[in-house]
Every structure is written in C-alpha cells, then in structure tokens.
Homo-oligomer: 272 residues x 2
C-alpha cells in the first residue's frame, strides 16, 4: 500500500499557473499539493485557498519560509506562517538561507538561522503551523541553505523543540531524497527523526547532473535507491504523503504537464 | 609563517605536459608537486622521477589510487603504490569510486571500498606509501567517490589502522577544502583527524558554480573561509605542504600557465 501522492507545484511551474496545477491534480486524481508562495500570490491567497478546498486537496506543505540570512526575514516568515495557516498546510517548509553576498562566514549564517527559527517558532506554534526545516544538498550551502544534513537539522529541532511530545511536532524536517541520498548516516538519522519527519519529497539524482539547481530527475531515472529510503522513512513512522518535487530546466519543465503528472503517478507506483 | 606551496598538476594539465609543469614549478620556486598518474605515464615514470629529483621537488602526493568499485582495482592500486614509492610520494591519494554503471546501491559500493582499502593497506605499508582517503563532495558521490565526509573517512581509518601510533600514519586522509568546507562537523573532525591529515588541498568554491566537476575557483575568488580552515588544520598538527588543486574548464585551464602559477603563489600568501 503506497502513501498518497502529492504534487509540489515546482514540478510544473514553467508550464502552468497554480490554478491550472490545481485543476491538473484534480483531473489526474493526485490528492495532495504543495504550492510555492510566489504562485499563491499570483493567484491570490483567497482564490488559491478556495480552489484547493473545492477540489478537496490536502496541502502537504507550503514552500517556503526561511532565508533567515536575508534582511526582511521576520516579516516574510510571519506572512508565510499566516499563508500556511490560511491554506491549512501540514507544514511550512523552511529553506533556511545560505551566505549573504560577500560573506564567507557559514558559521555566522548557521547561528542566524538558529536564532531566526527560535524567534518564529512560537508564532508558528500559535498559528498551528508546524515548521519543517529542509536540509539542502551541500552543493547548495552557499546559495540556498546552510543546513545540509539531516543530523544538523535534527540537532536544531531537538534543541528548540525539546519538550514536544505531541503526535504532531511543532518543529521537524522536510526530507527530500535529492538532498540526503548520499549521506552515510541517513538510515540512523531517519530513525532518530521519527515523528519529526513532516514531509517526504521524491525525485531522483541523474548521472550526469548538469546543473546544481535545476537538473533533477524523475523517480526511476537516476541512482537513488528510492524503495530503500521509503522503507526507512515509513519505518520511522511517517504516514503522510509522498510529494514529488522536480526542478528540471532541461527536461520535465519542457514537457506537456499532463504527461508530467501521469509520469509522476506511474513512477510513484513503480519506482519508489 | 606559511606552509610551503605544492602544485597539484591538475591545475595546469590542459596547457602543459608534466615535464613542463616540473620546469614551471622550479622556475616559479614552487617546492612541492603532486602529479596525476596519467601524466606520469605519458612522461614515463623514470623520466618523471629524474626530473622531479633534479629539481629537488617534494612529491606531496600521487593522484590517484582508489576506484575500488572498478573491475581492475587490485592491479591498478598495486601499480599506483609502486609508482608512489618510486616517486617518493608522501602519500597515495585515494579517490575511492562511486556507483558502478547501473547500480543504485551506495552501501554496497561503500562496503567494497572498505574491503579494497583493507586489502591494499598491507602492501602500501610494506612499500612505505601512506594511503590518503580523500572524502569527495557529496555531489560527486555517484560518479567519483562514495566517501563523502571527513567523519566517514576517519571512521574507516580508525577501524583499519587502529594500532598505528607512529608519527606517520599508514592510513589517513587528503583534506580538500572544496569537498569539505560546507560540513557542519568540520572543525571537530579536523581535530579528531590530527596526524591522519596527510595532505591539505586548496582552491575555492565559486558562486555560482557552473559545473559539478570542473568549475573550481582560485583561492580568494570564492566563499570558503580559507584562513579559518587553515588554523584548524595547523591546530591539528599538520605541517606538510599547502597543495593547490584547481579543475577549471572555464577559466584557469584557459590561461597562460605561468600566470596561473604566479597567481597560485600570490593567493596562497594573501588569501589562505
């Protein structure tokens, strides 16, 4: 029995608006969606909320909060929490930010990220929006996120959300196979994560990978042992959606999005 | 007082033969060299050995042994050990290999790497050639090396070379800032490494990085805090050479190699 499928809207963002993606999910019987905030803003929050509700889609996450190293991080994260609450998102995904322009001080960034999460966590908790730190691949450490391993993310979760023993953590992780598949400590850290896994993202690592950001593969086309990682994640107690998120300038963003969604469904069943 | 400079011959490989690089090092008063085996083979081992000795260059490493996931790994590593011994190399750098074509089983690769190192270690020890495992950046896990963090490399060193308490370890690491700069556990692991640091490689991480393999930066042009890592490495007791290794299809491989060597020297003093 497979977990239900969710579509991260990045997967068809070049071809479709959010309204079209919501229709597409309904048409292809994909029951979850994880929208990006720029797309939500373009559609307007209230229209997005209505269309998602009208199609009974589960919002498996809102992408994204974070970027705690940017000047406007406080306001931006407050807005993100409100939007996530409005959409009933199961979590707000945090892409935490990397090195500000001119900085070589990754430790300073990491400490700003820690302080930033500490500061927004009470607001997120009050709004009923769990925060999901997404550890990003080390190759994206400078430009997008200085949290780069699951171990590092869990250290922060446990320090800031120590007493949380509820079924639903206020602070957890979004686990994306693309970012963590290489990690020699992955199995142990997934076990450690347990109920802190708030979202599980799927795609594949292509060989060769031609771009550091936008050359992700469709499940089955790369070298990640997806069934193995799924077993670990489900073994840790995760029972949410399987969310497909593919940034693919050279391939999937160029295809007919109906074909993309059909392929996601088929590969989800066959290759994960 | 700076550690002495060594030139990894990859840095000028597109412009110069090994003979020309040896001359270049002598002309620019760079006192160490770390050649690649294909260049040595092209020049012939005996001629390379003679030219390096005639110029009194220290061979800070031979690149490379490893690729334990390839069919001919035994013979290839035996030859590499012999060549390193002939050249008087301070270590044989091991790029351990990634996933064989068609494989998605990184754990199997890791176990083959472990067994491979275990098997060649006695021969390397007998030949007086220390083996230096080079943890490679996680973005190169599939294609070049499934050892991706210093912690993972040191775990192997300590398991296979437990009893080694000599001044010179038989099994250690080649620490390249490019591969490890992002690691949140770097400071602690460098401390742990101590005398197992057999080589220290310099370059820089460019923003943006346009290629996963051949877009390394010259020291000072990227975002790595090189003085900080140097302090950690020297604090761990490392007193070898600073070896510059720059793979740069888009920039340094296109320049006049005399300019490249002068720039390495100047940046070594000013930016590391």
């Amino acid at each position: 029995m497979r977990l239900k499928l969710s579509l991260n809207t990045a997967t068809a963002r070049k071809q479709w608006t959010l309204a079209q993606i919501i229709d597409g999910c309904a048409r292809h019987d994909i029951r979850g969606i994880s929208p990006w905030r720029d797309q939500v803003a373009q559609m307007t929050l209230s229209k997005a909320q209505k269309a998602i509700a009208a199609n009974s889609l589960t919002v498996t996450g809102l992408c994204r909060g974070g970027f705690f190293t940017a000047p406007d991080w406080r306001d931006d994260n407050r807005r993100a929490i409100e939007e996530a609450a409005t959409l009933g998102a199961r979590c707000l995904v945090l892409v935490v930010g990397g090195l500000p322009s001119g900085s070589k001080d990754i430790e300073k960034s990491r400490s700003e990220v820690y302080e930033g999460i500490a500061e927004i966590l009470p607001e997120a908790r009050k709004a009923g929006v769990p925060l999901a730190i997404e550890p990003l691949h080390p190759m994206q450490a400078a430009e997008r996120a200085c949290i780069n391993t699951l171990e590092q993310a869990l250290d922060i979760c446990e320090e800031l959300d120590e007493a949380d023993t509820s079924a639903q953590c206020a602070l957890g992780v979004a686990l994306d196979v693309y970012h963590v598949w290489w990690d020699p400590k992955l199995e142990a850290q997934v076990k450690r994560a347990g109920k802190r896994i708030l979202a599980y993202h799927l795609c594949d690592w292509l060989v060769p990978t031609r771009d550091l950001f936008n050359d992700r593969g469709m499940m089955g086309d790369g070298v990640i042992d997806l069934p193995k990682i799924r077993r670990w994640v489900e073994g840790a107690g995760y029972a949410g959606f399987d969310e497909v998120e593919i940034f693919s300038e050279l391939d999937w963003w160029k295809r007919d999005p109906d074909e993309v969604l059909e392929t996601c469904k088929e590969r989800h069943l066959r290759c994960t």
